[in-house]
Symmetry: C2
């Protein structure tokens, strides 16, 4: 991914570099979610994500990275450094490479008008510092920003053939500007990069790798790879070529993967466990409820992250202290005393209580030791019980032991709870989940 092929080719996709700007990124103080979003948009447009770099708030370093990337790609998308403060230097660095070092920025009357109307509409005086955002290199044009004060900038690089687009860092400003001002320029005919991701839960990455085997050979077209995150193994397929042919080849490999890996594939691309479970519930007109201890609301948060989840999610109970388990879910004091809050028995009573109190058709309960403290020999940190109650059916509780820190244990628990609901809706309520070490399954009648 170091150098772009320079020769013109009839079906070559535009190769686009991504440059993220900011000390806070270089120092790791914030995550850079813009670069990956832009990469996905480029793929969807039929352009190819090229080299990705991150540089700090340093005018010379920024100009040098812009120059290097613009000279080896068809286009460069820069994000960040357009704010009103003195550490925002993207305007100046762009001027250095499109108009030349020493050329001064000019004030753009349209930019001034945008800023004035922005603040007027909000009944606030404009801080003088915001006027910096109306400055541009002489050969650049401003890109409208309806969602913030900073206009974007677009200009042809002085050396090379690349168009350079500078977008604001805040995602809610950057994304609409990319869609309006950048995407139409890059979405040209010819080669496309078509991608698909198939998400699985229930087997480890190497087991999936063995099922896919020859499909993952290097050089195979379309290519197949796997990645794992919080118990979810994703199969990633990528086809490059002329439009329809690439998409057809992609779908053929997707079908091969589905045939080999089977029902543990729960979703594709942007589908989440919650959105998939939600679609199954909505189709059957069933409603889900939750009773959370160790996840503390994370399961509900993942569920309600899905737009429209009110159609299939009643709500739930965050019973973090034991008194709440008793009062809100009807867990018996005797159960807590005999088995503890982290047990099959408590998980089962939590799920049953949520079912009864909400009138939902299914209820998921989580209870476990998320850590860092609270573990013991019998129930070390990472021990989690997930119970699923269904109206008119037995309550199933599974025990898991998850490796990792507090955040990992909580995240895996929320994923696995949804996986348990999915297997139940598929008619496999007692399916073992193979990669979960130490996993045990217990079934109790409701």
């Amino acid at each position: 991914m170091s150098e772009a092929p320079q020769g013109a080719s009839p079906v070559r996709a535009a190769r686009v570099a991504i440059l993220s700007v900011g000390d806070e990124l270089v120092l790791g103080q914030i995550e850079d979610s813009n670069a990956s979003w832009i990469a996905r948009e480029l793929c969807a447009l039929g352009a190819e994500p090229g080299e990705r770099r991150t540089v700090g708030d340093d005018r010379a370093a920024l100009a040098e990275a812009m120059r290097a990337l613009a000279s080896s790609h068809d286009a460069l998308v820069v994000t960040g450094g357009l704010g009103p403060t003195l550490d925002d230097l993207t305007r100046e660095a762009l001027c250095d490479i499109v108009d030349g070092a020493g050329v001064a920025l000019v004030e753009d009357p349209k930019g001034v008008a945008h800023l004035e109307s922005w603040f007027a509409a909000r009944g606030r005086p404009m801080p003088a510092s915001n006027l910096r955002q109306a400055m541009r290199p002489p050969s650049a044009r401003l890109l409208d920003n309806p969602n913030g004060t900073a206009p974007g900038l677009a200009a042809p690089a002085r050396e090379g053939r690349a168009q350079v687009f500078c977008l604001p860092g805040p995602p809610n400003e950057m994304k609409p500007m990319f869609a309006r001002a950048v995407a139409p320029v890059l979405a040209r005919g010819g080669s496309v990069v078509a991608t698909a991701a198939l998400h699985t839960i229930g087997l480890g990455e190497s087991s999936i790798g063995e099922l896919l085997d020859d499909l993952m050979s290097r050089g195979r077209e379309p290519s197949v790879g796997t990645t794992a995150s919080d118990g979810i193994v994703s199969i990633r397929i990528r086809a490059t070529g002329a439009g329809e042919a690439a998409r057809a080849a992609l779908e053929e490999t997707v079908a091969l993967c589905r045939a080999r890996v089977g029902a543990i594939i729960f979703g594709r691309d942007g589908e989440s466990l919650a959105s998939v479970v939600g679609a199954m519930l909505a189709e059957r007109r069933l409603v889900l409820a939750t009773a959370e201890s160790c996840t503390g609301g994370l399961l509900g948060a993942r569920i309600t992250d899905v737009a429209g989840s009110s159609a299939w999610y009643a709500g739930g109970f965050v019973t973090y202290e034991n008194a709440r388990k008793v009062a809100d879910l009807g867990v018996r004091e005797a159960t807590l005393a005999a088995h503890g809050a982290v047990s099959h028995e408590t998980a089962i009573e939590m799920a049953r209580g949520a079912l009864e109190r909400t009138g939902a058709a299914l209820a998921l309960a989580t209870t476990g030791v998320a850590g860092p403290s609270g573990g013991n020999d019998a129930k070390p940190v990472g021990t989690v019980y997930i119970a699923l109650a269904r109206r008119g059916a037995e309550v199933v509780s599974r025990r898991f032991h998850f490796p990792g820190d507090r955040a990992t244990v909580r995240s895996r628990t929320a994923h696995l709870a949804l996986a348990c609901a999915r297997f139940a809706l598929l008619g496999e309520a007692t399916r073992p989940i193979l990669w979960a070490e130490g996993e045990a399954c217990r079934v109790e009648r409701a």
Copy 2:
């Protein structure tokens, strides 16, 4: 940030490049949280994060990026590409640059023993493909991985002076390996990069910029910058120099920023709103409860993300459907009929209900239109009410209007709810929150 100074200097910090490997990163299919974590660790060690690049699963591109970064830095940390499948090529690319192209990998008996005992301990047969993970370049050594199958690799680059460290991609394997095998090598005397972040909520980024003004001039040492995310504006301070002097200069600038910005600074570095509110509650032996509609559990999840939150968080109610607001929180049907679920009146009854049902000292309630649908002229998408009930005090409800998509609205709501609790604990329960456009404050007696 393009080229490291090559001359030796007595107090120069080791400059370390970071290379992230994987098609899934280049294509934007997953976020790269490893690079920012490593950058933060480097700062803490007194090393300086240098250039950051991301490349796909391509042996030649990977070797070229390794070569370029190793020749311009003191060390290179590579993550990813050590898995058992054929798309994992970091071992091969490392061999190309440390032993030379065409040199074959060798099987390391210690690596084989690690894999055999890993699978034996789990009572599972070892997939043959895992043996690839015991291979290494002849001049490299393996780094122990107690948390996964993939050993890491360390070797001196053939050209240049850099040490190259290759670590697995999964964070729960990468982080302990970095701490054990990489950090001690890089933590050498001399210059350090000391950083601090002060987190604020309640004012916009340009207003904070005006308060800090001259402190943000380019070239000032220590440097001061700001970043904004989901309503939180962070002031980022960075000092470089000889150990104690850098840390003293850092603290001096931190004190200047605190004096200018005042009480809206809620935390520093890794502190979150939830951890800060938790510490205030714990100190006063008070317990918090939650009643969530539009956040659907996200507020509880943020709270319970804090280890030890059981000391000050009772739990709460995810009353997503209106029936739950009535049954679990005692919201009156008449209130819902007259004012709707998204209203001051409903928010106030939710908070009061949570307080009464849990016996907590404080209760936070959220209700709003997270979108994408459900808005109207009077209450467009992004309209949110946050109410705070305190035992023996009036209930305060605030109305906000947040720009952005569903995830942004939900995230800001959870942040602002915690900010409301913080201002109440500071004795400023009715403090307006200035940047929130259209914000209105309403106070009703409990």
